[in-house]
C-alpha cells in the first residue's frame, strides 16, 4: 500500500526531499516504515533520538499501524515562539 512521507526543518536536507510516496507492506507499523526510511537515508538514523513522528496531525508511536494513504511526518524537536 502507498503512504506519503514528509520531512520538515533540517530533516529535509538529510532526506534531500520534503515529501515523497513510499510503498509499504500491509500491516506495517510506524517503526517498520522508519526502518525503511533509514535504509534509504542513512543520515536520518544518526539523529534517531531527536526524531519526532506524526501520522496525519497527531504524534504517533512506533507501534502504530499504518493504513493506505496515511501521511507520515518526520521532524526534529519543535521550536515555536
Amino acid at each position: 500500500m502507498k503512504v506519503t512521507v514528509q520531512f520538515y526543518s533540517w530533516f529535509k536536507e538529510l532526506a534531500q526531499s520534503s515529501v515523497q510516496e513510499l510503498e509499504i507492506s500491509k500491516g506495517s507499523t510506524v517503526g517498520d516504515l522508519l526502518e525503511q526510511v533509514y535504509g534509504q537515508y542513512p543520515k536520518l538514523r544518526e539523529v534517531k533520538k531527536s526524531t519526532l513522528i506524526a501520522v496525519g496531525v497527531e504524534y504517533a508511536s512506533l507501534e502504530q499501524e499504518l493504513h493506505e494513504g496515511d501521511e507520515i511526518s518526520f521532524f526534529p524537536p519543535v521550536q515555536g515562539g
Partner: protein
C-alpha cells in the same frame, strides 16, 4: 471559551489586535505576551529567524492545548498569532492574549500555553546570520 488562532507570514499588528479585543463585564484580567526575535542565538549574532510550520498539524496541536486550558482554568478568551517566514531581529514572532476573571488563572493559562507550544506545536527556526 473563545479561541482565535492565526499562523501567518504577515507582520503582527498589535494595535488592530488590541482594538478587536472583546471583554465581558465579568472579566478582570488580560495577560498578553509578545515573543520578540533577539539579536543573539546562543553566542552568534543573527539578523533574522526563518520560521517554518507544518500548518495543519500546528493548528490541530494548538487546538488541543486550547481545549486543555478550557478544561483546567476559567478563561473567557485566548487569541494567538504566530508569525512564520522571515522575522527580523527586534520584531515579534508570537503574540498571545488570555482573558480571565482573575489574574492568577490568566497568568497560569498564558504560561501553560507557551510552554506546551514549545514542546508540541510543529514550528521550527532557521537562523539567518548577520
Amino acid at each position: 471559551m473563545r479561541q482565535e488562532l492565526s499562523i501567518t507570514t504577515e507582520i503582527i499588528d498589535e494595535t488592530t489586535l488590541n482594538h478587536s479585543r472583546r471583554l465581558s463585564a465579568g472579566m478582570g484580567a488580560v495577560v498578553q505576551f509578545l515573543g520578540v526575535v533577539r539579536e543573539l542565538e546562543g553566542e552568534r549574532a543573527i539578523s533574522a529567524i526563518d520560521y517554518e510550520a507544518f500548518v495543519p498539524m500546528a493548528r490541530h496541536q494548538f487546538g488541543k492545548i486550547f481545549d486543555e486550558i478550557d478544561s483546567r482554568w476559567s478563561v473567557e478568551s485566548i487569541r494567538l498569532v504566530h508569525r512564520i517566514g522571515r522575522v527580523p531581529v527586534n520584531e515579534p514572532s508570537l503574540w498571545v492574549e488570555v482573558i480571565a476573571p482573575h489574574r492568577g488563572e490568566a497568568f497560569e493559562a498564558c504560561q501553560y500555553l507557551i510552554h506546551e507550544m514549545k514542546k508540541r506545536v510543529p514550528i521550527w527556526k532557521r537562523i539567518i546570520e548577520l
